[in-house]
């Protein structure tokens, strides 16, 4: 392009979907649609072809699980569900058996047969009257393209050099999520509404998004200068000097608030009357460590080791785990990293071949690990070996009895013995803790506290079990209440009993990262907040702007109240007075 006439400012009006202003070069993203050819196979190639298909299926599952997990962590379980249908499609054994049978019989390549089989269903779905079915057709097409791309062994096109405003006809949430690992300045799409998954996602990632911008992906060219104003739904292509200056000023104003927050990075998380709390981050991927450090975390309050198991058939070896834990320990040193042992089962992968009517009340967390002592020992030894710098701690999930803690401690002692015999160094005094995420554990907080050095409240499960509400069930989603009086009272009970027994009490559930809950939790005496890295500065600002004594009064007030509505209204009123600039969800 780049004829002199093309350089003309063009303004597009779209729908504002995620706030913020960015200025930078455009990157026009055209989705890769694999071209598929028919090829006949020799008899000798057939087994290899089937293997290639299986690999592509596994790789696709792995990618989607990663995306699902990333979404779950960034956006919560409700939003992550949008990827569930696609995961289910990949689990369809009937579909894959049919394809494999056809490879054998027809001696054709997998690419052709994958598309041929899936297209049958796709045609029916796109022909449906019902909008829901047509949406599923999109999922189907996405899955099909994913498998085809993996058959070609192409990597996802999500690595960009430099920072861009991504412009596309259509972006699936999954595409956006992967791009977000780069330094994305903004997203502009032709399709989509302000309430789409994509919009929720961009807001969660704090990246400006304007949707419904007609034809922009055909008019704009990669590397054109673009201004995106996500607050007003405006996109300017090839802006004049004057326009640029105007938006640069706007951008600076907008960023002041976020910068004020960022300035807190090196400040301690302490109240005006100098009560210091630990403000840590929850992570599940090593890639997040840089961001965690940038956000000024006091440590890692929860490392979810399950992410290790994604897309695997077997548990990782002790050595492989050691490498991983060691990298985190070194990256965060001298700050503390709490490693949670595998928390599998429930809604989390890898309870292979186990069908349970009620997985949330079934074989999960520490229950699985105690039944698989060899796997548990591998993990414990790996953590111990990585603990030589004395900055690791171990946390057990889903504990409901003292016996479980004692058994886990016996295994830990055995793991230490093993290392001692091999002459390998480790931290003899490594701290151990348990998660309080089941009402039974809450009720015996004092007993548990005598067995460990710390407690960490997992609010997502605690609330679900306490209120008997499945957090993934849309029908009862309203009943999942972080501020239910039963929840607030339980928190008070756990924190108090913990302190009476000289252990510190933290929280690593979503509630710890909810700005509305922060004052209440400080007031209840919580010692540690472990939150998703994005909200760290906001929570720190709240902590640093309040007296502990005042927070205690707020907590006392809330404890008197009889409904979630009452508590939320009260906390919202106080928040709005004290922190008018912090957005509440």
């Amino acid at each position: 392009m780049a004829t002199s006439t093309a350089i003309k400012e063009i303004r597009f009006k779209g729908i504002p979907a995620s706030p913020g202003i960015s200025i930078g070069p455009a990157y026009i993203f055209h989705k890769h649609t694999p071209s598929v050819y028919v090829r006949s196979l020799d008899q000798t190639e057939i087994d290899k072809e089937i293997e290639r298909l299986q690999k592509a299926r596994e790789r696709s599952q792995y990618e989607l699980q990663k995306i699902f997990q990333f979404a779950d962590q960034r956006l919560g379980p409700e939003q992550a569900k949008i990827f569930e249908a696609q995961l289910l499609l990949l689990e369809d054994d009937y579909l894959f058996t049919t394809i494999i049978d056809r490879i054998r019989k027809e001696k054709k390549n997998a690419d052709f047969l994958v598309r041929d089989e899936i297209e049958k269903y796709y045609r029916i779905m796109t022909g449906a009257k019902d909008e829901y079915a047509r949406e599923r057709a999109d999922d189907l097409q996405d899955v099909c393209n994913r498998i085809l791309r993996n058959l070609e062994e192409q990597k996802l096109p999500s690595k960009l050099d430099g920072s861009y405003v991504i412009i596309s006809h259509h972006l699936a949430a999954a595409d956006a999520l992967l791009f977000s690992r780069n330094d994305v300045l903004g997203y502009v799409t032709e399709l989509g509404g302000a309430t789409s998954h994509m919009a929720l996602l961009a807001r969660a990632l704090k990246i400006p998004l304007v949707v419904g911008v007609h034809q922009i992906s055909t008019i704009a060219q990669s590397n054109d200068v673009v201004i995106i104003d996500g607050s007003n739904g405006l996109v300017v292509l090839n802006p004049t000097q004057e326009t640029l200056e105007y938006f640069e000023k706007q951008k600076a104003d907008y960023e002041q608030f976020t910068q004020r927050l960022a300035k807190l990075r090196k400040e301690p998380a302490e109240t005006l009357d100098e009560r210091r709390v630990q403000l840590s981050a929850n992570i599940e991927l090593l890639e997040e460590l840089d961001f965690v450090k940038q956000q000024g975390a006091d440590g890692i309050g929860l490392y979810r080791t399950e992410s290790f198991l994604l897309g695997r058939e077997v548990f990782p070896s002790e050595d492989e785990q050691y490498e991983n834990y060691n990298r985190i320990a070194e990256a965060m040193y001298p700050k503390q990293v709490i490693i949670r042992t595998f928390d599998i089962g429930g809604d989390k992968f890898m309870a292979q071949g186990v069908k349970e009517n009620n997985p949330f009340l079934g074989w999960r967390g520490i229950r699985v690990m105690l039944d698989k002592p060899q796997i548990f020992l591998d993990q414990l030894r790996a953590i111990l070996r990585a603990s030589v710098k004395h900055n690791l701690a171990i946390m057990f999930p889903m504990v409901t009895s003292i016996k479980e803690v004692q058994l886990a401690k016996q295994l830990l002692a055995q793991a230490k013995d093993d290392l001692r015999q091999k002459g390998l160094p480790y931290d003899e005094k490594i701290q151990i803790g348990v998660m309080i995420e089941v009402p039974a554990a809450a009720a015996i907080t004092d007993h548990l506290a005598k067995e460990v050095q710390f407690l960490s409240i997992g609010t997502n499960d605690l609330i679900q079990y306490l209120l008997a509400v499945d957090r993934g069930n849309e029908i009862v989603a309203d009943l999942f209440q972080e501020f239910h009086p039963a929840v607030v009272r339980s928190l008070q009970y756990i924190i108090r009993r913990g302190k009476e027994n000289q252990v510190w009490v933290g929280m690593c559930g979503q509630m710890a990262g909810n700005p509305l809950a922060a004052m209440l939790l400080i007031g209840l005496g919580l010692d540690e907040f472990s939150v998703v890295p994005t909200v760290l500065p906001e929570i720190k600002k709240i902590i640093r702007s309040i007296h502990y004594s005042e927070a205690q009064r707020i907590a006392e007030q809330a404890l008197q109240m009889r409904s979630e509505d009452e508590i939320k209204t009260y906390l919202t009123t106080v928040m709005k007075q004290k922190f008018p600039d912090i957005p509440l969800s």
Partner: protein, 89 residues
């Protein structure tokens, strides 16, 4: 082989969650399981097939079971449909 006609009772129709529930239940039985709707017949053990039905509330489906445990399979599956997949009706 046995057949039974069922009606979709829940409000939201045969969307992802019910489809997953059907496939999961079908997997517990040895019998083959097919679902017929209008002129289309799909394998009830395949989520992609079940999703394709796009059956709305009120639509009628024919369930077909064939195998050693067809009776039990039929009973369990009809029950799941009659409960409206435990969703609002």
């Amino acid at each position: 082989m046995i057949q039974r006609e069922v009606t979709i009772r829940n409000k939201a129709g045969l969307h992802t969650r019910p489809a997953a529930a059907i496939v999961k239940l079908a997997a517990k039985f040895k019998s083959d399981f097919y679902i017929e709707k209008d002129d289309m017949e799909i394998n009830g053990k395949s989520i992609i097939g079940v999703m394709t039905l796009a059956a709305e509330q009120g639509s009628k489906l024919l369930l077909k079971f064939d195998g050693v445990d067809e009776e039990e399979a039929c009973k369990a599956m009809v029950d799941l449909f009659e409960r409206g997949f435990d969703e609002p009706m």
